[in-house]
C-alpha cells in the first residue's frame, strides 16, 4: 500500500471544504444533544422513578448500529443534513445524559439545602448552584460526545453527508488508499482540536477550580 503524499497539497481546498462540512454536522449534533439531555437529566435527577427509564432508553438507542439509524431516518427526513445531525444527536444523548445525571448527583445535599435555606427557589438553585458545581462532570460528557460525534460523522457518508467520510467512500471505490489515510488523519486531528477547545472553555468557565490545581 503506497500513499501518494503529493495528493495532499493538490487537494487542499477540497480537504478544507470537507473538514468544514464535517464540523457542520458534528457540532450541531452535540449542541442539540445537550439541549435535549439537560432537561431530561434534571428530570432523571429529581424523579427517581424516571431515572432508570430514561437512562435505559438512551442505552438501548446506543445499541442500534449507526448506519441503520441514518437509513431508518431517511423516510422521515430524506437525504438531508438533518438526517445526519439527527442520527448523531441520538448517539450523543447516552453520554450526555449519563454524565449530566452523574454531575447533578455529585452535588452534595448540604450545599443544595444551604441554597434552599438562603431562600433560593428550585430553579435558582439549579441554575446558580447545581449546574455550576456539576459543570466539570457535564463537560467531561460533552468532550466524550464531541469526539464520538466527530468520528461517527463518517458513517453518514452513505447518505451523502459524511464530511471527511466521503474520502473513505472515494478511496474504497477507486481502490486508492491515499484519500482514506487523509480522511482518517484529518478526522483524528479534528477530534483532538475540538477536545482542546472544550478543555479551554472548561478552564475559562471554572476559575474556582484553577487555584487548587
Amino acid at each position: 500500500m503506497t500513499i501518494d503524499w503529493g495528493w495532499f497539497p493538490d487537494h487542499r481546498s477540497d480537504l478544507v471544504t470537507l473538514t468544514l462540512d464535517h464540523l457542520s454536522t458534528a457540532v450541531p449534533a452535540v449542541l442539540f444533544g445537550l439541549l435535549i439531555a439537560l432537561p431530561l437529566a434534571v428530570i432523571a435527577h429529581r424523579v427517581r422513578r424516571l431515572r432508570g427509564l430514561l437512562l435505559g432508553i438512551s442505552n438501548i438507542l446506543f445499541t442500534i448500529p449507526s448506519i441503520a439509524i441514518f437509513v431508518l431516518l431517511l423516510p422521515v427526513t430524506g437525504l438531508t443534513r438533518t438526517t445526519a445531525i439527527t442520527g448523531l444527536t441520538i448517539y450523543t444523548l447516552v453520554v450526555l445524559l449519563r454524565n449530566t445525571v452523574e454531575g447533578l448527583d455529585s452535588v452534595p445535599t448540604k450545599v443544595r439545602e444551604a441554597s434552599t435555606a438562603m431562600g433560593a427557589r428550585p430553579l435558582r438553585t439549579l441554575l446558580t448552584v447545581e449546574l455550576p458545581l456539576a459543570f466539570p462532570v457535564i463537560m467531561a460528557g460533552v468532550r466524550v460526545a464531541t469526539v464520538m460525534a466527530i468520528s461517527l460523522v463518517s458513517v453518514a457518508s452513505y447518505i451523502g453527508y459524511g464530511g471527511l467520510g466521503q474520502l473513505f467512500t472515494d478511496g474504497f471505490q477507486r481502490n486508492y488508499p491515499t484519500p482514506v489515510v487523509a480522511g482518517v488523519l484529518l478526522s483524528l486531528l479534528l477530534a483532538l482540536a475540538a477536545d482542546a477547545v472544550l478543555v479551554t472553555i472548561q478552564w475559562l468557565c471554572t476559575p474556582w477550580l484553577r487555584r487548587r490545581a
Binding site: M1, I60, S66, I67, A68, S151, G165, V184, L188, D195
Partner: protein
C-alpha cells in the same frame, strides 16, 4: 408507520426468513462469532495492559489518552484502509473491532485499579504478600466491577459495529442493513437493526448475570463508567 411495524413483525417471524445460508439464524451466528472473537482478542490484549498500568501506576497518561484516541478513530476509515491493504479477508473486520474495544477495556481496567484504596494495597504488602499476590488476590477482585463494566461496554459497541462486516462483503446481521439499503427495502434494514440491538442487549444482560454471580457475597457498590 403501523404498516411498517406489521411488515417488520412478519419479516422477523417468518420461518423462511430464519432458515437457509442467508437466513437470520446463520447471520445471527456469524454476527455473534465476529463480536465474541473480537471482544475476546481485545480483552486478551487490553486486560494485561490495564492491570499493569494500574498496578505499577506507570503509563496512566497513556491509558487516559488511549481512550480518547480510540473514540476519535473513525471505524469506517479504518475498515476501508485495512481492506485496501489486505484485500478480501476478515482482517478489516477484526482489526477495526479490536481497535474499538481495546481502549474501552484498558481505561476501565485502569480506572478500577486506580480506585483501589491505597491503604488496602499497603496493608497487603505489609503482610508480606508478593506483587503478584497483591495484584491477583487484592487489587483484581476489588477492581473487578469496573473491569466488568469495561467488558460490557466494549461488547455492546463491538456488536453494534460488527454491522460493518457486511460493508466489506462478509456476513453477520449487517447484511440486512446494507442489502436493505441497496434494495431500498426499509423493512429489511429495520429488521437487521432490531436484531443487532437485541443481540447487544442480550449479551450485555448475560455479562451482567456473570457479574452478579461473581459478586454474590459482596455488598453492592457504586458503578462508574
Amino acid at each position: 408507520m403501523l404498516e411498517l411495524l406489521q411488515n417488520l413483525l412478519r419479516w422477523l417471524t417468518s420461518g423462511s426468513q430464519w432458515s437457509g445460508p442467508d437466513g437470520i439464524a446463520t447471520r445471527l451466528l456469524e454476527h455473534l462469532q465476529y463480536s465474541l472473537l473480537a471482544t475476546l482478542v481485545a480483552a486478551a490484549i487490553a486486560l494485561p495492559v490495564g492491570l499493569l498500568i494500574g498496578h505499577t501506576g506507570r503509563g496512566a497518561f497513556l491509558a487516559i489518552n488511549l481512550s480518547g484516541f480510540g473514540r476519535a478513530l473513525p471505524t469506517v476509515g479504518l475498515v476501508t484502509l485495512v481492506f485496501l491493504a489486505s484485500g478480501l479477508s476478515m482482517w478489516p473486520v477484526y482489526v477495526s473491532l479490536v481497535a474499538l474495544a481495546v481502549p474501552v477495556i484498558v481505561t476501565n481496567t485502569y480506572a478500577g485499579m486506580a480506585a483501589v484504596d491505597p491503604e488496602v494495597r499497603d496493608a497487603a504488602r505489609g503482610q508480606g504478600m508478593r506483587w503478584y499476590q497483591v495484584l491477583f488476590q487484592v487489587e483484581l477482585p476489588l477492581a473487578l466491577p469496573l473491569i466488568m463494566t469495561g467488558l460490557r461496554l466494549a461488547c455492546v459497541q463491538v456488536v453494534a459495529t460488527a454491522t460493518i462486516a457486511a460493508y466489506v462483503s462478509f456476513g453477520g446481521l449487517g447484511r440486512y442493513v446494507f442489502d436493505g439499503l441497496a434494495q431500498r427495502d426499509l423493512v429489511q434494514v429495520l429488521g437487521g437493526a432490531v436484531l443487532v440491538a437485541v443481540l447487544a442487549i442480550a449479551l450485555d444482560l448475560a455479562l451482567a448475570g456473570v457479574q452478579r454471580l461473581l459478586f454474590r457475597n459482596r455488598p453492592p457498590r457504586a458503578h462508574a463508567h
